[in-house]
Symmetry: C5
């Protein structure tokens, strides 16, 4: 994620950031400009269509469909943003539950009990295992304080967050059997223990479920035909000015689709993705301050 | 569900996928084109209506109602998408709760206790029973590890997921009476146990409740009369170009209704439906890694 | 509720169902048509207003307010639909909680314990009492398995679902005092026990709270004046064609308001209401399969 | 709140209810009409501006901004309605939790135990204390069954619902210490006990937080300038007909803002406010039927 | 936050409050006015472009994109408002949970027990620590009743709310070990104890996550180019009247973006921010009335 000052308008408007859609769409801008120029040249110079030609009124269609395309792009934007925001909320829940679990365990476990050191490293490990898992990666070195036995037990081919969750579950189960944690205390930490797996599952769901194929294909077809037919009618009123106008309209419509595509899977390493590296680091820092 | 790369615009625009609305609406395109051609021929060649004829201004109505039809289609799209997404969320909850139940039970049950094997097969069985139930089917062979007694007890005429849930409930009740599971532990697994039936009920609700009949009938009547009256007024400005324009507008409006119809019941085997086969398989795989 | 096949367009478009707004608005269509005809006749034949008359441009107002009326009708549609869908969700919760309560109790209560028979009839009774209560009715015969004592205790003048909930609460309280249900088990069924009253209260809230009076009165006044002034301006461009146009626009606007009115109280016996009779029946069927 | 029959269109359209915005905006209608007449007279009679004058085209601005103002008013309407509906939901929760608390306590407390009479009056008292508190009032006589000691202990200067909640909390705490309520039973009534304060806090939040000042001021400035500039351009096309048109547009825009202002604080005694007197009365009636 | 009477329209319209966007955008108004005047002068006086020049029709583009820009600004407004309102809701939850924790503890702890005084000061301290933390500040003097030992233990470089939460957790843990709080009572206060950290985490999430960079940059570029091209086409119809029109349209579009920027981080000291100082003070006042 890019940290930025939302109030610095000047930079926003005149600098072209690498994640800016202007940059990524630039080749398309050239193609659309050439296409519009060709249409304008054909209609105005080659066929010398008169002002009365029926094709002029094709603009009526663009007016009628303008609502639909705008509303669909807002629908697209909303659903993509909702996933991004839900992903952020899930990571926020991971922060909260890691902290609460650490706070409760440090109040429960006697000073100097070895399990304190165990949770000191294992609670943050869950965040790191999940971060890598959501990127389809696994880095054993990002997990801290593993014993040789635990390192050997971890199987990189299996679901890594589940294995770390099992470590934590088994340790609390063991402490309960030893009566270090009483039954009442077990009940009070249950919500935090189960939240880890719930959060991981919610993030997997966001990652693995793009919007339905039919909407995606329909929206792209719609934008394409809408923009391709734009110069045909407007060339009569605008002459060669139709070229920048079509490019600008394409910029607006395609940017919305492009940004939506990028943010709907927010767990990668792109410029707009969530800063899961930073959040994982903060979880480790804060949990280790607590316990 | 179709797995696709949302960034591959070229394929989206020029390939006609079998789930594409272009393909499914093609016969209607031909009918609408013929109808528009007939209207154009009648108005322009047979009746030779002049540019001043009142019918020309019927386009005002299409302008005024353009907002309403766009907003209604977005309402339709939103409600259908919400069901699809809620269905996905419920299946995500099933993943989470199956995993959490397995994680907790493997921490509670002593190594080598026979109940571990029981839950190893029975927790994933719930997902399979529910998947088939939502399709109105029942396949005994998709349930694993049933004893002869259990197979005999299952009644294909009765609600299958409830029967599997009863197996799980009874087994945990029995373990509680034997004090293998303590009262405190029973309380900590209660949320997962009851979630199974809640998820199944939520999916049944989505499946059995299309949007109210009145909206469905009103929207179809509205689209029909809107498109049928379109060529009458626009033929004066557009001549025979009215034919592709009406077809394109019909494509946009009908596609939205068609996609909405398809995704509002997301548990079937259509191209846009949720991949419940894959999710059930993953539940089995991950649960069996855990316990 | 009407069960229908949403993919059968032909029937939707050409058949007039009894719940169809076309049927219910028909008398209004005639009145609006006569009114528009009168306006057209007055302006065109009696006063012979010229094309330059200022009244022609009143159409500008309809253009400017077209957005507002569309957006308001969508707001109306959304809020009405949300109530309908929330009502459906509450009944879905009743299904889930009835099933879960039965599943848990059959696991808790020893085989052959008389309380099994009690819950076998009493859990479904809650759904029937609530269904009738939401219609302002009370049918003692829809409750099954009541003892003479219970029948005598029920007071038709008092809140019926609360009385059935009290039966269930008292029975579980008694079983807890007899230690048939342990304290831990009581905690695990607590959520289901309290859900019954929560669901009933939520449905009463939906039923008793239409949208604020001011919106309702404002929207109806707005639609009325909007439609009444429509023919005044459009008659110049459209001549007597203004009659079907005004009728069609009225059909669209009034249908939306009419459908919203009908579905915002979804617990009655209208065509668009929720199938609470069927759901109650299914609750009885499934609960009685379980316990 | 006004109880009304939403299907009685005739009354809605022709009767002017006292809460109707038509009545409240009437003085403004006169002022706007005079202002529009003055603008029309100046432009048409005094300055005799020609049809070609640039001011005629100021209407383009109203077209462009028509979307924005409509969407903003819908945003305003949505947020105000959401508060009103959330307020209603909170009162619905109070109904549910009061009933559930009474249902559970009557099952827990032995027949004839004096605490039954205590909760018989004290649970409904919470609703009355909260209703008055949300109006900035305090009426000791609306609380029933207080002992002389309790009456003396209540401090009208302090937060009244908190004091009633403390009475209930202390009584249940005392019953728990006397083992009339077991630990397991205490856990099962905990959710209801804490809900009282949560509901009161949520209502206070709605009451004390109007939408951000900047939106309120911006929206009013926007409506004002939009309406004030309307007659300037439209007078050329409409002549003196501009007067009713501007008044009608003002009626629509200002009504939406006015209704939103009224319903966003729904706990008072205005016509559109929630019927908290009736709801409190029903809570007392139903709770006292139960315990 | 500014307390205001939403019904006082006159003040809203004619007074320029310091938080008013009119004031903050004033320098931009001057710049836009000069720019528009220059464009008008160039087109009308220098180049003397005819009415037929193609540039006149660039207005078509503004019409087509008018929807998109309006809908995007409403999307921006909605997301910013949602954060502001969620921030308010989280602070409301802090109020509720602080009160409920105090209510429960005063019912649990015997009269005169020293822990009562501890919670009397420590529960409100959490609100003050969190308020300062969300502003990146730390004021030791805003925490009341700390012992010398506690003051020494607090580390200003570490997460302050977590440290206060740890104090509360440890005290309840200690009281549980001393059996002043029973296991059942510990379970009943668990939700309040863990809510503190959950609320703080949710506020941190809102504060640290502006909307995705791409949307922010795209929206600002879009508004800029839209407004900059406005005078080019409209100058033909409006002459020098294009200057106030462009300024007014800029006022509307930029105000929405500006207000959204301001309210999306609601925990500072700006005019539109939440009154966290007042809320913290009220928490202290009400909690100290209770315990």
């Amino acid at each position: 994620m890019i940290n930025y000052n939302p109030k610095d308008w000047f930079t926003f408007i005149f600098r072209i950031h690498k994640a800016d859609t202007v940059k990524r769409l630039f080749p398309m801008f050239v193609a659309i400009a050439l296409y519009s120029a060709a249409i304008a040249w054909l209609e105005l110079e080659v066929f010398r269509l008169s002002e009365k030609d029926h094709i002029r009124n094709i603009t009526a269609m663009h007016g009628l469909l303008g609502f639909v395309i705008s509303l669909l792009l807002v629908f697209r934007t909303n659903t993509a943003y909702d996933r991004w925001w839900e992903g952020r909320r899930q990571w926020g829940l991971l922060v909260n539950n890691s902290r609460n679990l650490a706070l409760k365990l440090q109040a429960i476990l006697p000073k100097g009990h070895p399990a304190r050191a165990y949770f000191h490293t294992m609670i943050p490990n869950y965040a790191f295992a999940m971060k890598d898992h959501l990127r389809g990666e696994f880095h054993i070195h990002s997990l801290e304080g593993l014993t040789a036995e635990e390192t050997a037990a971890l199987d990189g081919q299996r679901h890594m967050p589940n294995q770390v969750a099992a470590f934590i579950m088994n340790k609390t189960g063991e402490l309960y059997r030893q009566q270090v944690i009483t039954g009442d205390q077990l009940i009070t930490i249950n919500a935090q223990l189960e939240s880890l797996t719930d959060i991981c599952g919610a993030c997997e769901r966001i990652k693995n479920t793009p919007i339905p194929f039919s909407y995606s294909v329909f929206l792209k077809k719609f934008i394409f035909f809408y923009v391709m037919t734009l110069p045909m009618g407007y060339v009569f009123g605008l002459g060669y000015l139709v070229i920048p106008m079509v490019v600008f309209i394409f910029y607006v419509l395609a940017s919305l689709e492009l940004i939506a595509e990028e943010i709907e899977d927010p767990f990668g390493k792109d410029a707009n993705d969530l800063p899961t590296d930073v959040i994982s680091g903060n979880i480790r820092k804060h949990v280790q301050e607590i316990i």
